[in-house]
């Protein structure tokens, strides 16, 4: 297992390097120049942008060096915790990510946990009550959850719960450590939107996997031994049906992080999604590289944890 983990960590490192390098190169070739934006954004300024001025600032931000030197310099500093300086925000990228990441994690983690806590039991119930009205209802809702666009659902929820019923705030984010009650109220709608797709996926996958497992011979044996339904499902069947569900959860982490861009925009939450989008539109290289690095690290490490969990779920799976 240790060897496996080490091997996976090395793979994770390679993936991160490849992802960040790709993003680095793509950003450099996008149209637009952050130095120009930096120099020309001041509305009051009569500044004439001269080539010398541009060169001086490029030198200050290290943008006049060869691309590979810039990249290696950045990646080495990144592993030391220095993600660079945002050209346009005039703060360190680490500081910006330090503010944005907890917000994203708070919402993303809540959505992730909810999608498991609700999705898996829903899938189990659908499987054991297959063909009944409950199965039909949950499956229909799951299908809606998978197909409905997150952005659209968010706007609908805002209008329904925020504007019409007036029971929840329209937008905003407050740290749970600052005011837990307001934070919870503000988090309900965005977390719901984020949970919808993974919850629906979990329910469907659990149902499908459970249906397969409960038709196995050993389950029939358990029934014939007179064990209760609860014991059969929870003790004998559940673990065996969770492997595809766990695999799906790995992909869900990606979609939760990815979907946050839209949710953060709709609900005005200053998280990682908004940070990276603003960075892209303003060609703020360091911000984009930093957020991609952090996001890639979180996702790859989460997938590593999921892969390790297979061994716990199924003792037959052993990693060399």
């Amino acid at each position: 297992m240790r060897t496996y983990i080490l091997r996976r960590l090395i793979q994770t490192f390679i993936v991160i390097v490849l992802v960040t390098f790709s993003v680095f190169m793509v950003m450099r070739f996008l149209p637009g120049d952050p130095i120009l934006l930096y120099l020309t954004e001041d509305e009051f300024s009569e500044l004439q942008v001269t080539p010398e001025m541009i060169e001086a600032l490029r030198h200050e931000f290290g943008l006049d060096r060869p691309l590979m030197v810039q990249y290696f310099d950045w990646i080495i500093n990144a592993f030391r915790g220095d993600l660079g300086v945002s050209i346009l925000k005039d703060t360190t990228v680490a500081y910006e990510i330090g503010k944005a990441l907890p917000r994203t994690m708070y919402l993303g983690f809540s959505a992730f946990i909810l999608s498991i806590l609700i999705g898996v039991p829903a899938g189990i119930v659908c499987a054991i009550r297959r063909g009944k009205w409950l199965d039909t209802a949950v499956t229909t809702l799951a299908n809606i959850g998978i197909t409905a666009p997150t952005f659209w659902v968010g706007i609908l929820l805002i209008y329904f719960f925020g504007l019409w019923l007036e029971i929840l705030p329209i937008y905003g984010y407050t740290s749970p450590f600052e005011d837990f009650w307001i934070s919870t109220q503000q988090a309900i709608l965005p977390v719901f939107c984020l949970t919808l797709f993974p919850l629906a996926g979990s329910a469907r996958q659990t149902r499908s996997a459970m249906l397969e497992v409960i038709q196995q011979d050993y389950i029939r044996t358990a029934w014939s031994k007179g064990l209760s339904e609860r014991v059969i499902i929870l003790k004998h069947a559940l673990k065996n049906c969770l492997i595809p569900v766990i695999t799906l959860k790995g992909m869900t982490i990606r979609s939760i992080f990815g979907g946050q861009v839209l949710i953060e925009t709709v609900f005005n939450i200053p998280g990682m999604g908004r940070l990276v989008v603003e960075g892209i539109f303003s060609n703020d290289y360091a911000v984009v590289q930093g957020t991609v690095l952090v996001t890639a690290t979180v996702i790859t490490l989460a997938n590593l944890l999921i892969d390790i969990s297979y061994g716990w779920l199924d003792p037959r799976i052993r990693y060399g």
Binding site: G32, F44, L47, I170, G172
Partner: protein
């Protein structure tokens, strides 16, 4: 008996009228307390900064105006003249030769850090401003402290835009003590001013929080305890928040949401923001736009009326000259170049292009809808236009760099603007003067600089108005730039909020110090 009856009726009527007046007076009386929350849109693509002074690149003094104050502020008088009222200055006088301006400063004014506002603090601020900002207070040669509350500005030449200049948001005052102790970067991001609200916190493009300054020089103000500005990108969300009452106003609302809120009883205020214009690479002798008739043809080729009706619910008035109708700078003798494709073709033929011309149009992504419409209008006049969409940074480069150093390709027009200023000379100075660093590809006509100088040095308002109208005429006849429409901004306020005042010069903010919330 009859007399008694009618006397009683008269007394009763008088009582009812008195009661009505009292009730109305009671309704209008400002109430103290509450939190005023509102929505603003973050400026794309760069994060909004709020600090002052603009010594730091990109510092945006807009919202700082709620926390900072100037010597004077603009007003537009009833006859359309630009006037000024004292804020931190109680009076001022000008020497007969126009070269000295002396201000008496308000006494008892404190900065939010408890230090005094006085002539030394004013001099510190404006000396810094002149040093670090290219064109602010450009006519000031030196500043003297006469006594603790008298300051004198010595001008290098008479300049009747001086009061407008000191009324601009960049000329507001911050605490020199705070800046010197902690540093200019901190001062740019933590405005320590003298206004009725003091800075609490600011997260870029998220939230700005200000709270009442208890030692404000006007003991009546402010009424509200706290002001919170939330930066919301999504127009639908902003509208829903205001409708719900989660926020009480929106600044710079979209026309559609403003109209929707108006139907629900919100108070909508509109004001001109910028004049959308077309500029040319007319300095390039190889460009078709080096010829005046081609530029004039562009003026006839655009159907402004249709554009202004189609865009933003008709709230953007068409512009045929570079001043707003009804303002002192409006030249009523100018015959507008209304849409006339045949006339445009004739002008092109006279310029030597009977078969039309091919041009490039450089625009920002935001304006694509407008320019696609203009492109099809130009087509009818034989002008084949290719639209080139650019990021904002590139557009700014075009506006400040001459061709050959990243500037425009030949035969190009540029989507551009002139910021609205009540004192038009300030706006023209930034864009139209030959010494301006903006639009280096633009050929300025002979006589324009002289007209602008004449307007700036006029000794009375009538003279200033006449010279400004002359400048407008010169720009029009030369077709130096082609105006398209005045862009309007909308503010929507909940009916429970009273007395939010509009401030000039650029409407990027309002004054909330007199605002109160009806409970």
């Amino acid at each position: 008996m009859k007399k008694l009856f009618f006397t009683s009726i008269a007394i009763l009527i008088a009582c009812f009228m008195l009661l009505d007046v009292c009730a109305e007076a009671a309704e209008k009386k400002p109430q103290y307390g509450g939190t005023l929350t509102g929505i603003s849109y973050p400026r794309a693509p760069k994060a909004t900064r709020i600090g002052n002074p603009p010594a730091i690149f990109g510092a945006d003094a807009g919202w700082a105006a709620q926390m900072l104050e100037n010597l004077t502020r603009y007003v537009i008088e009833e006859d359309g003249n630009v006037g000024f009222r004292g804020v931190l200055a109680t009076s001022w006088k000008t020497s007969p030769d126009g070269l000295t301006r002396e201000f008496k400063l308000r006494k008892g004014v404190k900065f939010h850090d408890g230090t005094d506002f006085d002539a030394a603090a004013a001099k510190y601020n404006h000396d810094t401003l002149r040093k670090e900002h290219g064109t602010a207070l450009k006519s000031v040669a030196s500043i003297d402290v006469v006594d603790s509350h008298t300051i004198r500005y010595n001008l290098s030449k008479p300049d009747n835009t001086f009061l407008a200049d000191v009324s601009e948001t960049y000329a507001a005052f911050i605490s020199p003590t705070a800046k010197e102790l902690i540093g200019p970067k901190w001062a740019a991001e933590n405005p320590i001013g003298t206004n009725a609200y003091k800075f609490v916190s600011y997260e870029q493009d998220v939230e700005l929080v200000m709270k009442r300054f208890d030692d404000y020089w006007d003991p009546k103000l402010p009424y509200v305890d706290e002001v919170k500005i939330h930066y919301v990108k999504e127009a639908l969300v902003a509208q829903a928040a205001v409708e719900k009452g989660q926020d009480l106003f929106i600044t710079r609302a979209a026309a559609k949401e403003a109209m929707a809120l108006k139907k629900k009883g919100y108070v909508i205020v509109t004001a001109p923001s910028v004049l959308r214009i077309i500029t040319f690479d007319s300095k390039n002798p190889k460009s078709v736009f080096a010829k005046k008739k081609v530029r004039q043809a562009i003026g006839y080729a655009i159907n402004r009326k249709v554009l202004s009706e189609a865009l933003d619910w008709g709230y953007n008035p068409a512009a045929y000259q570079t001043s707003l109708e009804g303002s002192y700078a409006y030249n009523s003798t100018i015959k507008p170049r209304k849409y006339d494709p045949e006339k445009a073709k004739k002008l092109l033929a006279e310029a030597g292009y009977p078969d039309g011309i091919k041009i490039n149009i450089y625009i920002e992504r935001l304006r694509k809808r407008l320019w696609t419409a203009i492109q099809s209008q130009l087509q009818e006049s034989g002008i084949e236009a290719k639209i080139k969409v650019n990021p904002s940074s590139k557009m700014r480069q075009f506006r400040t760099s001459a061709s050959g150093s990243g500037g425009l390709a030949v035969n190009s027009i540029l989507s551009n603007h002139i910021s609205y200023k009540p004192d038009y000379i300030l706006g023209f100075d930034q864009t139209m003067r030959s010494t301006s660093s903006r639009q280096p590809d633009l050929q300025r006509p002979a006589g324009l600089d002289e007209a602008l100088i004449e307007a700036a040095q006029a000794t009375d308002f009538a003279g200033k108005a006449k010279a400004t109208q002359k400048a407008v005429q010169i720009i029009y006849e030369d077709a130096t730039v082609v105006p398209v429409y005045w862009e309007t901004v909308f503010w929507a306020t909940h009916p429970s909020v009273h007395n939010i005042k509009h401030t000039y010069p650029d409407h990027s903010h309002r004054s909330y110090k007199g605002a109160w919330i009806e409970k």
